[in-house]
């Protein structure tokens, strides 16, 4: 498996909960330069990789943001074409793009589908207009549904909906309603994220002043459980802490992250990983452009993971997955004895029924999914 992440940082406005690497109100010049530099980075990165490992095609491509659809369909198609021109892409590769429901015309969706995107991730966030307003979104519930239908007509047969829950002041009934409207649309995939108050965001400032009171963990757990029940009843199975899919429609690109796989990354703020080597690019779009122009690289940091750190990540991410992680496979991959490294805690947590182990595969008992981090903090070496 080899993934590629491409970051498009532009947004019309910043949502008050967002702490991603995004750029608001970009002038046309910056957008043009960014696209040019992104193309250059794609060419450099992919060519280098194709040369060193020619037998390894890309198995997934993910255009994320920001708002990738801030760019025109033609520009996006050119970028995808650049990828195809530079490196082999597996015929069944999953090629995703993120989009927001506002200002998304059906013909743009058609163009994207025709250009080769086969998976669409829609940031609908909620089907409650009051909640959408509080989240600072510029679309309403109906627009969300309309864009979904448009995407279907445009040819997308693999659509994911992003939802946010545990909004301050949101009722459990409102969350149920959002889940039910989601189910009615029959998407292939749903991501449910508990609202996280990230440092430095307007929400964090409101929380500091006491104008926003985060939903208590115990109540969040109830909402999380509600999502699981309603979505699973509709055939969307929970395959990761926050992700649900019809069997076979799990996001391949993200699964590769969670299995500790290899992925290349281009664009500002993007993180890549190859066999324990991780690197990341400059976060701010203008500086990214400048670095690319001056140095032909925007890489600003890297780390080499020790086998133990890699084990920690595999454990931490594996616990979030329904499939868990395999002790023998991990041992072989990292050249260590994973069971020995995790010993005391592994045994204790298994005895308590918090972890399940079957033929060397360790996974979290379903009831313990909401406390995956606490389990990971105990288990990692």
């Amino acid at each position: 498996m080899l993934g590629l992440y491409v970051h498009i940082p532009f947004c019309v406005r910043r949502c008050p909960y967002c702490d991603f690497a995004i750029h608001i109100g970009a002038k046309d010049d910056l957008v043009t330069e960014y696209v040019a530099m992104l193309r250059r980075e794609l060419e450099n990165t992919l060519a280098a990789h194709a040369q060193s490992l020619p037998e390894q095609p890309l198995t997934s491509i993910f255009f994320g943001g920001g708002t990738p659809t801030f760019l025109s369909a033609a520009t996006l198609a050119e970028l995808l074409q650049t990828i195809h021109d530079t490196i082999a892409v597996a015929p069944d590769a999953e090629i995703s793009i993120e989009a927001n429901p506002d200002r998304l015309e059906e013909d743009k969706l058609t163009a994207l589908h025709q250009a080769g995107w086969n998976r669409l991730s829609l940031g609908v966030q909620s089907f409650d207009d009051a909640a959408l307003k509080r989240l600072g979104r510029t679309h309403n519930a109906q627009q969300g549904e309309a864009v979904f239908d448009g995407a279907r007509r445009a040819g997308f047969d693999n659509i994911s909906l992003d939802l946010i829950y545990a909004l301050p002041g949101q009722s459990r009934a409102s969350w149920h309603n959002t889940l039910e409207r989601t189910v009615q649309l029959e998407p292939e995939h749903v991501s449910c994220y508990a609202l996280t108050i990230e440092e430095g965001t307007p929400f964090a400032k409101r929380a500091e002043r006491g104008h926003l009171i985060p939903v208590e963990d115990d109540n969040q757990a109830v909402l999380m459980q509600d999502a699981q029940e309603i979505l699973q009843a509709a055939g969307l199975l929970r395959y990761e802490v926050s992700n649900y899919a019809r069997p076979g429609r799990e996001c391949q690109h993200n699964l590769n992250y969670w299995r500790g796989g290899n992925y290349l990354a281009c664009g500002c703020g993007a993180h890549g990983h190859l066999n324990g080597q991780r690197w990341w690019n400059e976060r701010a779009a203008p500086r990214y452009v400048q670095l690319m122009q001056e140095k032909n690289s925007a890489r600003v940091g890297e780390e080499t993971l020790t086998p133990r750190q890699r084990l920690s990540e595999i454990v931490m991410l594996g616990l979030r997955l329904r499939e868990g992680f395999s002790l023998p496979a991990t041992s072989q991959r990292l050249h260590l004895d994973a069971r020995h490294e995790l010993n005391g805690e592994l045994q204790d947590l298994t005895q308590r029924g918090i972890l399940l182990e079957d033929a060397g595969v360790v996974r979290l008992a379903p009831a313990a999914i909401p406390v995956a981090d606490a389990v990971a903090a105990r288990l990692i070496p």
């Binding site: 992440y5 990354a265 993007a270 991780r278 931490m316 909401p370 981090d373 606490a374 903090a377 990692i380």
Partner: protein, 601 residues
């Protein structure tokens, strides 16, 4: 030196009655310290002493005073510790004197330790000069206080002097009274050497400094000495007096007070109350009154960081150089790791040692709840003492438990007598006596109380219930059998040894429940339910549940989040390593700290 020109005296007082200020003023008026060197409370040399306004170690100063008769006298002022924990040290310091100034605050009046100290001085056959201090204050009420001195202490009112240590008023009269009223020492210069050790201190540069009062014979620099309580012989390296700086002299003779340095390595060799003699011409008998210091209060001290165990050992070794009454043996607790079981003279002593360890040696400590020594008689007739509740056997193996008692004297304005009765009754006190004084409506109450109740927070409670007006003194009063039980605290069925305590059967439920609630409140929720219980033997008497945590998971964990999240978990993991583990329940240090700190109310 002519003995008729020497006066050895000490100053005794209740805490805060101005003893040190008066001493400083006397030093100044006899030119022992210059105006320039005068800092408040010259005699209290430790930071802690100056801060708390109490004297922990005794101290001795030589003053030269030219009296109205034209002769110049040597006045040796021996300062004494002002707290009940150190009453033995007070008695030894008093034994080095022929007279004492009894300082009483002219507003506060006679307090419990005024009486206790006066009794010690009377027992030691000292001439007492009653001194009313702080007469410059508007609240001073000399008439009432003089009546109290007559009625409560039993000293003639016409002998009372009026002074102000602050302004210096009347202090010359005090100096004159010392010369006139305190008898000069009267030991034979020719008899075999007998010198009383009334204190010792450790100086990093000069080693152990022994404070002595010569009763008979002569001491010369360079001579051999023997401490009669043991077999050790030492050669005197330096002999001297305090002016108040240490000043070497060639000899000291009967009646004089000073210090000796003799290359003594272990402070345990120098026991307060022991007698120094000349091995070539030894005295037949040591001076009377020597007693082994006996710790009364015990607690476990554990470093919060287990790596600090050697540092704690070093710090205790060093502290003991100045404080032979501190005892400690290495101990280990499954819950708290390696530490020491320490013995103290009393609660204040315990506080001071803990504070010095934390402040002077930069240690962060967990102290278990203070305990006393219990005498256990087992069903098979075997008898032994325990100073740690964890060592108490199972209830069915116990025939009898005896606990140490104290006689407590409380002096309090009459309107608070009810509050004192209530408190003493709550603390299993047995009423002994009540005496009323005719002036000012103050009452002297006497109760027999278990020491264990006394060391909880008795004094704080007494102070708060009497608005600070009550004063307290106590002395040991033997052992008494009582229906005492050990209460264990369990977390998910496992005993947390550090939290076990011994209490009266009838209070077991209340205290056990309070402890469970506190422990529950200071624990964070974990992956599974936590059951906190209190038990006597196998019988559960109280129980609390802490439900499992419901949610602890990051919503998003994609490419850019992974490193960040891993680092966070690694940090959390490191934090857990510092937690104390009981079974599989992690107990943060803070939980122990908060429980043990408030475990007293």
């Amino acid at each position: 030196m002519q003995q008729e020109l020497i006066r050895n005296f000490s100053i005794i007082a209740h805490i805060d009655h101005g003893k040190s200020t008066l001493a400083d003023r006397m030093l100044q008026m006899t030119n022992a310290v210059s105006e320039r060197d005068m800092k408040e409370q010259v005699l209290d040399s430790m930071d802690l002493e100056r801060e708390r306004g109490i004297t922990i170690k005794a101290s001795a100063v030589r003053l030269n005073y030219t009296a109205r008769d034209g002769k110049t006298y040597v006045l040796n002022l021996i300062d004494t510790p002002g707290h009940v924990d150190f009453s033995y040290e007070v008695s030894r310091a008093l034994a080095a004197c022929e007279g004492a100034l009894l300082v009483v605050d002219a507003s506060q009046g006679v307090e419990a330790q005024t009486v206790a100290n006066a009794h010690l001085a009377i027992l030691g056959d000292l001439h007492i000069i009653p001194v009313l201090n702080k007469i410059d204050l508007p609240s001073a009420d000399p008439d009432r206080v003089i009546t109290e001195v007559e009625e409560i202490v039993g000293l003639p009112g016409e002998e009372v002097l009026m002074v102000s240590g602050k302004t210096g008023a009347g202090v010359d009269e005090v100096l004159e009274a010392i010369v006139e009223r305190v008898p000069p020492p009267a030991g034979s210069l020719e008899a075999p050497l007998r010198a009383l050790i009334f204190d010792s201190t450790f100086d990093a540069y000069r080693g152990i400094i022994v404070y002595v009062r010569l009763f008979e014979g002569t001491l010369r620099a360079g001579q051999q000495v023997k401490l009669m309580g043991g077999d050790h012989r030492f050669e005197i390296i330096e002999l001297g007096v305090f002016r108040p700086k240490m000043t070497a002299v060639n000899q000291l003779s009967a009646g004089e007070t000073g210090y000796l340095i003799a290359g003594i390595k272990d402070v345990a060799d120098v026991r307060i109350g022991d007698t120094v003699t000349d091995p070539s011409r030894p005295a037949a008998e040591p001076l009377p009154g020597y007693r082994e210091p006996k710790p009364m209060v015990f607690c476990g001290l554990y470093p919060t960081d287990s790596n600090d165990f050697p540092a704690l050992r070093d710090a205790l070794d060093k502290l003991r150089l100045n404080d032979a009454s501190l005892t400690y043996i290495a101990d280990s607790s499954p819950a708290l790791g390696f530490g020491f079981r320490c013995g103290f003279l009393g609660l204040l002593h315990m506080d001071i040692v803990q504070e010095r360890l934390e402040r002077e040696y930069n240690l962060s400590l967990i102290a278990t709840a203070p305990s006393v020594i219990y005498r256990i008689t087992r069903s098979n007739g075997q008898t032994y003492e325990i100073d740690n509740p964890a060592k108490m056997p199972n209830p069915h193996e116990i025939e009898r438990v005896e606990e140490p008692m104290v006689t407590a004297t409380i002096i309090v304005p009459q309107e608070y007598i009810g509050a004192c009765y209530d408190l003493c009754t709550e603390r299993r006190g047995i009423f002994k006596n009540v005496e009323y004084s005719s002036a000012g409506g103050r009452v002297t109450l006497t109760y027999i109380l278990p020491l264990s109740e006394m060391i909880m927070d008795f004094f704080d409670q007494l102070k708060s219930r009497t608005r600070g007006y009550a004063s307290l003194d106590y002395e040991v009063a033997g052992l008494e059998a009582a229906p005492l039980v050990k209460v264990d605290i369990l977390i998910n069925g496992e005993i947390v040894d550090a939290l076990s305590f011994i209490c009266h059967k009838e209070q077991a439920y209340k205290r056990g429940k309070a402890m469970c609630e506190k422990l529950k409140d200071s624990l964070t929720r974990q992956l599974f339910q936590i059951r906190v219980q209190a038990a006597i033997g196998a019988k559960i008497i109280a129980s609390e549940n802490l439900s499992a945590m419901r949610k602890d998971v990051t919503a998003k964990c994609y490419g850019g989040d992974i490193s960040r999240k891993r680092k966070l978990l690694e940090k959390q993991r490191e934090g857990k390593k510092r937690m104390k583990q009981v079974g599989s329940v992690e107990i943060p240090q803070e939980a122990f700290l908060s429980i043990l700190r408030i475990g007293e109310d």
